[in-house]
């Protein structure tokens, strides 16, 4: 493979990255050459994003080396990244965002070139994208923003992109657009470009990757041509992922009386677990937020709330970052346990201790700051906050984001148990498997309910069908 050797873009040799005691990456050796299309997989926190940041120069390695063959820096070597979290400037237009990453674009008329360049890139990757180069980014939908970001990643920007790293680029794209992207990646690699593609959707990985690298706890545990993996084989190597859906259907209690029906058609009975599904961004989160806000007050303090909320987007909706774990849990029960307006500190401590053990928050002291917890454990705290209250209705907005499989199983069991005790759950999830565990599922499309599924009708196919199907029909 002398040919291959010549076209090396980047080579990592025992590259490691430590954050304090945490070994995010623990010695990784890897090389990427022109024409490579690498699929990178691994559990949450395996170190994928950290690896990406080392390659693109965003982080310096704690030890080991990274060598670019095309120049001193990632930028010069033509290495580009599309980040996991959206990283456009929302107050700028699409073309102006290209300018931010393309500093060579200067002088009078830069705007025209920027427009032409981003338009060409968008047209090439996503035909019929319908995005104006002069649209301000905060006026675009999440999927459109993601498309813009990808298009900027592949745009020439003065040099030519040689390696594009895509960190979970499809998480907010629907299947059709994701397909366009995958097709483009294949074309790009065929024409001599290289891609590192990260996704938790193994199907996509198998569709594009020529080589698959499996990361686990900061190490490469396997690396093969993609043909050499089977789906199950890959899952096994990644560890963790246990066969799911098997233990779901427990004995379900009899459906209680209906306690909720919204104008939109969302309904729930006492003790029921209701799932919300459909493509991301089709109004599920808004429906839940609206429901929560309409059933709780910004003015009236309540001793026992009617409804509680479990956030999935932790920094935006869930975590009170300056506080301890204890205070983060107890905020929902403060008013209930208070005596004459004073915080009942004994009750608070007792409740926090109880939930720490019940839900297994991994910490030695609930007085530690919440930010000392890992993401999954922070999420458990949010569950504890909601479940500790006595609210009969629990609203969950994609609460399993970044939660590992073991924890998920614990939480599923707990939700089941609480439902059996008569609590009602409204559960929006982007993972179809989770939704399939519910008693009833509402599928959303274009901010409307396109299907209501119950019993045996709840299946991945039916949900997908309701998410897309009528698009052609209508």
């Amino acid at each position: 493979m002398s040919d291959h050797e010549n076209a090396l873009i980047v080579t990592l040799d025992q590259a490691a990255k430590h954050f304090g005691r945490l070994r995010a990456l623990d010695g990784v050796s890897l090389s990427v050459a022109a024409g490579d299309c690498i699929g990178l997989v691994g559990h949450n926190g395996a170190g994928k994003s950290t690896l990406v940041n080392l390659i693109n120069g965003g982080l310096a390695p704690s030890s080991g080396t990274i060598v670019f063959s095309g120049g001193d820096t990632a930028h010069v070597a033509g290495v580009r990244s599309v980040f996991q979290e959206l990283s456009l400037c929302p107050n700028l237009t699409v073309a102006e965002n290209l300018k931010i990453s393309h500093s060579a674009l200067k002088g009078p008329g830069w705007r025209r070139s920027a427009r032409a360049e981003i338009r060409a890139s968008l047209d090439e990757i996503f035909p019929d994208h319908g995005i104006s180069a002069d649209a301000q980014v905060d006026m675009l939908s999440i999927a459109q923003r993601q498309m813009v970001e990808i298009a900027i990643g592949f745009a020439p920007r003065g040099t030519q992109a040689r390696l594009v790293i895509l960190d979970e680029p499809t998480s907010s794209l629907d299947e059709g657009i994701a397909g366009q992207l995958l097709a483009h990646i294949r074309r790009f690699c065929a024409s001599g470009g290289a891609v590192v593609f990260i996704s938790h959707m193994l199907g996509e990985i198998f569709k594009v990757a020529s080589r698959i690298i499996v990361l686990k706890d900061g190490r490469i545990v396997d690396e093969r041509a993609s043909g050499a993996f089977t789906r199950q084989g890959l899952v096994d190597v990644m560890g963790h992922v246990a066969p799911e859906s098997a233990q779901v259907a427990g004995a379900r209690s009899d459906p209680g009386s209906e306690i909720l029906r919204t104008a939109q058609g969302l309904a729930a009975r006492k003790g029921e677990i209701v799932g919300l599904s459909g493509l991301a961004g089709h109004g599920q989160a808004e429906a839940l937020a609206h429901l929560y806000l309409s059933r709780s007050s910004a003015w009236r303090p309540r001793k026992s709330p009617e409804v509680v909320f479990v956030a999935g987007d932790r920094p935006r909706d869930g975590v009170l970052p300056l506080w301890s774990i204890l205070c983060n849990i107890s905020i929902s029960v403060l008013q209930q346990t208070a005596r004459r307006g004073l915080v009942n500190r004994q009750a608070e401590t007792a409740i926090a201790a109880e939930w720490k053990s019940r839900i297994g928050v991994r910490t030695d002291d609930v007085r530690n700051p919440i930010l000392s917890l890992s993401g999954g454990n922070q999420q458990k705290v949010l569950f504890a906050r909601a479940l500790a209250s006595q609210a009969p209705l629990v609203i969950m907005d994609d609460p399993m984001r970044g939660v590992d499989v073991g924890t998920k199983q614990d939480v599923y069991a707990m939700i089941r148990a609480e439902a059996a005790n008569g609590r009602t759950f409204l559960w929006y999830s982007t993972e179809t498997e989770e939704v399939c565990q519910c008693d009833r599922v509402f599928v959303f499309r274009n901010h409307e309910i396109s299907a209501e599924l119950t019993g045996v009708d709840i299946s991945e196919e039916k949900i997908l069908e309701a998410s897309f199907a009528m698009q052609e029909a209508s």
Partner: protein, 314 residues
Amino acid sequence: MTPLNLLAKPWIWSWLAASAAFGLTLGLTSGRGAGELAYAALSFGAFAAIVGLGQMLVITLGPGNVDLSIPATMTLAATLALKAMSSNPGTAFLGLGIALGVGVAAGLANYALIFLLRLPPIIATLAASLVYQSFAIWSNRGLRIKPPAGLADFATGRFLGLPNVAWVGLALAIVVWVVLERTVWGRMLLATGQNLRVARLAGVPVELVRATTYVLVAVFASLAGYLLASFSGGAALNMGAEYLLMSIAVVVIGGTSIAGGNSNVPGVWGAALFMFLVVSMLNSYGAGAGVRNVLTGTIIIAIVIAASTRRVRA
């Protein structure tokens, strides 16, 4: 607590700075007049501390929250209260009631502008303050009416060696501290200040919290105005002017985070004493207005840098 731990407390810097200013001033007199200076600092620091405590609560509500109507509220409350009392004996509580009533009204008006008209608090309270100022002018045309003798004696008097106004300021500080540390409302305020959206989704009645906070700051301001007018022998139309920047300065020098969700009661008192003592020190050393301002500004920035870099490291 080890000294190093103590240095990581954001409020310690204001106390260190206040002590340094105190020491330097006394250095000039080789130690004489310590009691006198401390007494003056406590008296005048009390007014800054009272308005500072209110401003601290508002700033705790998070970025963008601040009350610029404090001076006008002080003036209006004092003017109306002193006019109502018109130096008659036995009317002190009537005056107090009127002052606090003005505070409640001003706070509600401020919050109404913020909530109903969605004005940024900076602009809303600024605009409202001009209206309050006009009210004060219209109601009394700047006449300085004397407080009733009993009230004046109380405001300038002392108890157990400390000025009465300092006792009031101290009591309020303790109340605010207890409210923040121990009450449900305090918790809800701190939650709202960290992230309004999170607090709302966690079941906190955030608008109620915001409304009560804006009322509280105005009530504190009106109380300070009432006491200051009683202390200095009458309400003047410009009596609150210096408390605009002062109220913000004592909060931030005191170590309260401008990002919200984090209050610092002891720091407010430390900073209030510091703001008085630093001027006294510079006056005592014969610094002119120019030098005095430059040094005051520099010291404020130095304290903020010291407190914030310590905090990051800690």
